[in-house]
Symmetry: C2
Subunit: 398 residues, 2 copies
C-alpha cells in the first residue's frame, strides 16, 4: 500500500515543541536529522507492517508516526505500534489458532480450554485505546531507559473474543478470596534465566473481569502474532502491558503475581528509586489527548486542527484546543463514531490563523471531571507523559 | 499478512443453501469445484489487497469472501470489495493528492477547489455500508449480466472528509431550482466512445447534501486509488455507484444527468425490459442481513451464530435468526460499537445444536419497521438480492 503512505510523508511537520524530533512526528521527507532508529528495518514477525508509517526503535518496539493517525477513529492494524517485552513466539503459534490452549485456575473447575472451545462460549467486541506505559517517554528531561516514544505507542483497536465472565461462569465461578485476575504470556523463556525475572505475567484487580475479554480478533481479523495472536487478554482502559499476549494461563488469585514485571516493573516511582510493590502499578490509563494535524508549517487562513482524546476507563467529555501554548483555550467538537468509553474520540477545531508562530496543543476532560494535566511529573521509567505542555507542536504560518 | 488469512481458510464452509458455491463462501481450501474466477490474480491497482480474502471475478470486480467478515464492525481496507465501472485512472492521480481539483456548479459562486483547499473547510467522518447494487446477483435464478456477487460486494467503511454542506455554504449556497446533486467521476473515457454512454455521472436527490461528504480518507488512511482516491463522493445509505470515485465535478442540477449510467443504467426493471428513467433508480439501500458464521460443518454443542445487519438510511433495530430455514426465529443481540445509522451492526445468537442439518439465516428489521424480505423479486440486472431465503447457509452438525 505504498500509495497510501506517500501522502503521509508530505504531511509531516517541520517544527515541534519540547523534545519532539521531526522524525518522531513522521517528517521522514524533511531535511532535519532523523532519529537513527527511523531507518530501521522491520523484524520478520512484523514484516507486513507499513514501514513508512513507523519509527522502528528496535526489533521489539515500533512507533506509529504522529501524523499517520488520521480521522477514521479505528487505527488500521498495519500502522498500530508494536511493543514486545520478550521475543515473540515463532510462526508455529498461529499455524493452528483454534488449537491454542489456555488454562484457568482459581475457578470452580480449573481446566484448560482451547481457542476453538472459547469461541463457542460467547462473543463480545470492545473498542479500546491500546497504549504502552512508556508512551511519551521521549518528552521527559531525564533519560529513562526504554524506547523514547512520543505519541505513537498508542492506537484505537477493536478487539473481539469471549467475555472473561462467560468463561468464568462456564467454569463454576471465581474461587473464594480471589482479588486479582492474573494472566501469563506464552513467550519462551530463554534458557538459564529464572522465569520470574522476565516472564510476562500481570495481575489486575478482579473487577476487571466484568469488561475483560479473551480476544482472537483485532480490527476484524485474526490477531497477528506481532499483536498477541492467537489469543490475547484484553483489559479495557488499562495500559498495554496488562493486555497479555499469547495468553496461556488465567488465574484468579488472592495476591498479585510475584513475577518481576509486576513486583518492581511497571511501577510509578521517583527517578533513581528502585521499584517496589507499594508503588502505584501501571494499571488504569489517564485522561489524555494530542493534536495530529497540523504538524507542519502552513499557509495562513482557515485550518482544521484535529487529534485524538481518551479517558482511560471513562468516556472523554470535552476537549479544548490552544494555539498559544495554553494561554487561551477553545472547545473543540467531536467527529465520527463514538466507539464507547474505552475508545478514543477524534476532535476537531476550525481556526483562522494569521501569519505567525503557533504552539498548538489540546486538553481533554473525562466524564468524571478529570482534566488532562499540564505537565507530567518525572518518574524513573518515564511512564506516560500526558502533559499538554510538551505534547504541543509548533507550527509556523506564512 | 499471510498469517492473518491462513486462519480464515480453515474456517470456511462445506455446504451452502441455494445457488451459493463453496468458493464464493471462501472455501478455497475445500475439495469442491472452485469458481474459475477465484483463481484470478489481482490487477496492478489493487495488488496490495489480501488476495486470499477475495474472489477475483474480473480485473474490475473483486468480492470479499463471506467468512472473511469478522466481528470488528469496520471492514479492513485490504479485504473491502472492489468494483469499478471503468478502468481506474493511473497512479499519477494519487501522486499529489492535495492538488486534485473538483469543480462546483449550481452554486452561488461556481468554481474549482483543490483537495488541499477542501481540507480547510471542514471535517466529518461517517461509518457507512458500501454495497454494490449487484450484491447478491449470484442468488437469482436468471442469468443477469455482471459479476455473480453473493454477499461480498459490501463492507462497512469509515469515510472522512469535508461535509458537502460546508462546501456549498462556502460557495454561496445552492442555486434556485436545484433538485439533484450530480457527481462526475474522473476516469478517462476511451477514445471513440460517446462519453455519455460510459461516463460515471450519478444524480441523487438534493437532500442528501445534508449527509454527504467529499472524502479523502477511508478507514483512517488516504483513500487508495482502487477505492476512489484522491477524492470520493460519499452518499451515506446509497448503493455504491452513487459514491462516485475520483470525483472531478459536483453540480446542483434541476434534472438528473442524461448520462446512460443514470437514465437507463442502475434501474430496477423486469427481466428483459429495457432501462428507462421512470423506473426506480438504485439509490437508497434496503434493510438486509446475513450470517457470516458458522459457514462450515460443525461439531454439536453450543455455537455462536453471528453476522452483519444494516438498514440503509435507517438504523437496524432488530435481527432474528432461524436455524430451520425460516420456520422459527429467535432474536439475536448486537455486539460491538454502534457506528451510527449508516453503518452495520454485528449480531450474535448462541445456539445449542444437536447433530443434524440446519439451514441458518437471519432477518433484520430497521427503526421504521421495515423487515428484510423473504425473497427478492427477479429484476433484469440482478440487483441486490436481499431475501433471507437464499442468503441462508446449510450446516451439518455431527
Amino acid at each position: 500500500m505504498n500509495e497510501i503512505i506517500r501522502i503521509h510523508r508530505r504531511h509531516f511537520l517541520v517544527g515541534a515543541a519540547g523534545t519532539v524530533s521531526a522524525a518522531a512526528l513522521g517528517a521522514s521527507g524533511v531535511s532535519v536529522p532523523a532519529l537513527a532508529q527511523d531507518a530501521g528495518a522491520l523484524p520478520e514477525y512484523a514484516a507486513w507492517k507499513e514501514v513508512e508509517a513507523l519509527i522502528v526503535h528496535s526489533q521489539n518496539t515500533m512507533e506509529t508516526k504522529r501524523g499517520v493517525i488520521g480521522l477514521g477513529v479505528v487505527t488500521p492494524t498495519d500502522v498500530v505500534f508494536v511493543r514486545n517485552n520478550l521475543t515473540p513466539p515463532g510462526e508455529e503459534i498461529v499455524a493452528d489458532r483454534d488449537a491454542w490452549e489456555v488454562s484457568f485456575d482459581g475457578v470452580g473447575e480449573a481446566r484448560s480450554l482451547t481457542v476453538g472451545e472459547l469461541k463457542r462460549l460467547g462473543i463480545e467486541s470492545v473498542a479500546m485505546v491500546l497504549q504502552c506505559s512508556g508512551n511519551g517517554r521521549g518528552l521527559f528531561d531525564h533519560e529513562a531507559s526504554g524506547s523514547p516514544w512520543i505519541t505513537g505507542a498508542a492506537g484505537c483497536v477493536v478487539w473481539s473474543g469471549v467475555p472473561v465472565r462467560a468463561v468464568v461462569e462456564e467454569l463454576g465461578g471465581v474461587a473464594d478470596g480471589a482479588k486479582f485476575m492474573t494472566s501469563t504470556g506464552g513467550e519462551e523463556i530463554p534458557e538459564g534465566i529464572e522465569p520470574k525475572e522476565v516472564m510476562v505475567e500481570r495481575s489486575v484487580p478482579l473487577d476487571n473481569m466484568e469488561t475483560a475479554i479473551l480476544a482472537w480478533e483485532m480490527n476484524g481479523e485474526p490477531i497477528p502474532r506481532a499483536h498477541g495472536g492467537p489469543l490475547r487478554m484484553i483489559v479495557p482502559g488499562y495500559y498495554g502491558v496488562n493486555n497479555v499476549k499469547y495468553v496461556k494461563r488465567v488465574a484468579f488469585t488472592e495476591n498479585e503475581t510475584d513475577a518481576k514485571i509486576q513486583t518492581s516493573g511497571y511501577r510509578l516511582r521517583p527517578v533513581d528509586v528502585g521499584g517496589a510493590p507499594d508503588q502505584p502499578s501501571m494499571w488504569q490509563m489517564k485522561v489524555k489527548s494530542w493534536v495530529t494535524h497540523p504538524l507542519m508549517d502552513s499557509e495562513s487562513g482557515r485550518v482544521q486542527i484535529y487529534g485524538v482524546a481518551f479517558g482511560g476507563v471513562n468516556p472523554v467529555d470535552k476537549v479544548e484546543v490552544s494555539t498559544d501554548g495554553g494561554e487561551t483555550w477553545q472547545e473543540a467538537s467531536f467527529t465520527g463514531p463514538d466507539l464507547g468509553r474505552f475508545g478514543w474520540r477524534v476532535f476537531v477545531l476550525p481556526a483562522d490563523l494569521e501569519p505567525g508562530t503557533y504552539t498548538i496543543t489540546s486538553r481533554a476532560t473525562d466524564s468524571e471531571g478529570n482534566v488532562q494535566e499540564q505537565s507530567t511529573e518525572e518518574n524513573h521509567r518515564g511512564y506516560d507523559y500526558s502533559g499538554w505542555d510538551r505534547l504541543a507542536v509548533d507550527v509556523t504560518v506564512a
